[in-house]
Symmetry: C2
Subunit: 387 residues, 2 copies
């Protein structure tokens, strides 16, 4: 019994969708411009905009200042029609951020954990960070349309955390299942360095760059890559793991810093920062330790550079806060190893890179729903039902 | 004074182009099918096909056998409307092949050179191989629409040979300039391993594979990669050079074979083959030498695999003729180094892979001309004028 009524309703949905696509990522448009872009008649375009305003997707904007005669009405996509949640679950901290559909941060929070924090406590910290963000933002859970989690470890394309060296009990954790208790919305899971690379390309120092390597310089380094404009995840999601090769010497390289003479007795997670501070003011033992750390970092970086020949290397991760101490030695160590030296830039997003990359991936997911789902308007109007 | 006459002529050209695109890469089509695909009227489609047959681009095919009633005429793209030339300039041989626009080899030839062959003599050998192919194929120079050269060494995106370790006087050779004395057609230059990777993806063991690493196992190994379905050349064309890293141990790895006890006195370029033969029948010294060669090959291969996480590794290059001796030891050496073992397949194109990849790249270039040039019909009708 769907017949003509069902067809008409479907046609209206498709028209609304066309109107929505025309406005997404565009400056405000007039009815005439919208009619041209969608191929709809002016009357249909008018109906579509009224429908989209009713649903909360579209808003009218005031006429352009100084316009002559009777100014044409203009419409814009409401980037606050929905929100996404980005999470960063690291060894020593958990971060959360709620952004609008343009990636603007509405609320963000972080809480400290440690390498030895048991799985359940780490998940509790995640829940606390989310609750704090929701409370600060005043965004109801139902208005969060997609959730992306960045986590340490290798994450397969189905979002399973398969291999983790930095946190003993983290492999196999069911993040989508855990978050599914709070959210009915889709939960995506990805490796943290990959999300940081994505954030640098979308929002950070690598905008307009199509081929880049992201180096996470920290106690346990990591890497990720953008190839031909796209995040390269690999056939099983395990790209960027060249640091696992013994010949690359990444696995134990933080020990150069942690065993630096003169710093014994400090907590291991603080020594690196202290060594960088000492190196900055010329302490010879600290400079030597930094040099050995950088020499090992450069071998893995050179393997990535010689393999991919990227335009740019972005140096991020916790140690990139001491980028002033690291950058020149890294350049000097890389030059003799590389066929062509790429440009090296310090991350501009710093500690926010993973949550911001997570938000970018969640927004991509919302866009895909908008652009390809059978019935995205319905799906997104009731996000709890999206699977 | 171009006015209406010029416009009409341009419209006819655009219609012909639409007809050509519809047939390129398609089975034979009837007039009705062509009209539907091009959006032209049946009468215009008829005119267009007559024009394309006059120009030699299109041929009529006999009606399908067993068709009832008056059978509809069908048309096909003439893959023999033009030809491309692929070249492979290696350390110890030069190869040439002429293929039609579907990549079918019409004529192929090879001639031996050596690592010590001076540049001019190597170029003379190239000219002899080309002349032999032209003579065998009976294809006039004017019917060769594009030329692609695969060469050892790093090749930048402008086709300049920038860095070569295997041939002393080869860096800086102007291959496009040299071939330009014989051909007015476009000459593309690329690294040989990259073309071999392309050939394996288009015509060989990697069809349908979107992410693969090609390993050239030879006296001087090389590598190339297809990422997300596309040949990844790198920002300066220098991707795949991870073997230059000392930690990867590729540079001297052939010495494991060449210094194998019991083979002294044989010419260096023949020892590897003899060692593989001896290993095949269980000679302990040869097995040991092969094991050490494979252990070093595996380090570079693991760096590529850990970086990219490809679906497939294709083992090609001169030594892949002894794939039966290499494949199992390589798998065993790689397994403990990799997070996820990709499938490993032996090249099915063997020594033809570089010339075939060169032909593929030349055909891509012809397709680009057909699909995007301002006036491709005119351009390709007088290929000498294409630049």
């Amino acid at each position: 019994m769907e017949g003509v009524g069902g067809d008409l309703q479907r046609l209206r949905q498709l028209n609304s969708l066309a109107g929505l696509h025309a406005l997404r990522g565009s400056p405000p448009l007039t009815l005439a411009e919208l009619a041209r872009r969608t191929g709809l008649s002016r009357a249909s375009t008018n109906e579509v905009m009224a429908d989209l305003m009713d649903r909360g997707w579209v808003a009218e904007v005031p006429p352009a200042p100084g316009a002559m005669g009777r100014p044409a009405r203009r419409y814009r996509f409401r980037s606050d029609a929905g929100y996404v949640l980005g999470l960063d679950i690291g060894v020593d901290k958990v971060r959360a951020a709620i952004t609008d559909l343009n990636g603007e941060v509405i609320a963000g929070g972080r809480t400290a954990v440690g390498a030895e924090t048991p799985r359940q406590e780490r998940l509790d910290a995640v829940d606390r960070a989310i609750a704090a963000c929701l409370a600060m933002s005043n965004v109801p859970v139902a208005d969060i349309w997609a959730i992306t989690v960045g986590t340490v470890g290798v994450v397969d394309l189905e979002g399973r955390v398969t291999t983790v060296y930095a946190i003993a009990d983290w492999a196999g954790v069911d993040l989508a299942g855990h978050l599914g208790r709070t959210f009915g919305q889709p939960v995506l899971v990805a490796n943290d360095s990959k999300l940081a690379a994505l954030a640098e390309q979308r929002l950070g120092v690598a905008r307009e760059v199509r081929d880049l390597v992201y180096l996470h310089a920290g106690r346990r380094p990591g890497a990720a890559m953008i190839v031909d404009g796209k995040l390269h995840r690999g056939f099983s999601g395990a790209s960027g793991e060249v640091g696992l090769l013994d010949a690359v010497r990444w696995i134990h390289m933080a020990e150069h810093l942690e065993r630096c003479p003169g710093f014994a007795g400090h907590p291991p997670d603080q020594i690196a920062g202290l060594v960088f501070e000492a190196a900055r003011v010329g302490d010879p033992a600290a400079l030597d330790a930094v040099g050995r750390y950088v020499a090992d970092l450069a071998i893995g970086a050179a393997a990535l550079i010689l393999t991919l020949d990227p335009e740019l290397v972005v140096l991020g991760g916790g140690f990139s806060r001491s980028g002033d101490v690291l950058l020149q030695p890294l350049r000097r160590a890389l030059e003799p190893l590389c066929l062509r030296m790429p440009e090296i830039r310090l991350s501009s997003l710093g500690e926010d890179s993973v949550v911001l990359g997570a938000a970018c991936l969640a927004i991509d997911h919302v866009n895909r729903l908008l652009l390809s789902a059978d019935d995205p308007l319905l799906a997104l109007a009731a996000p709890g039902a999206v699977t």
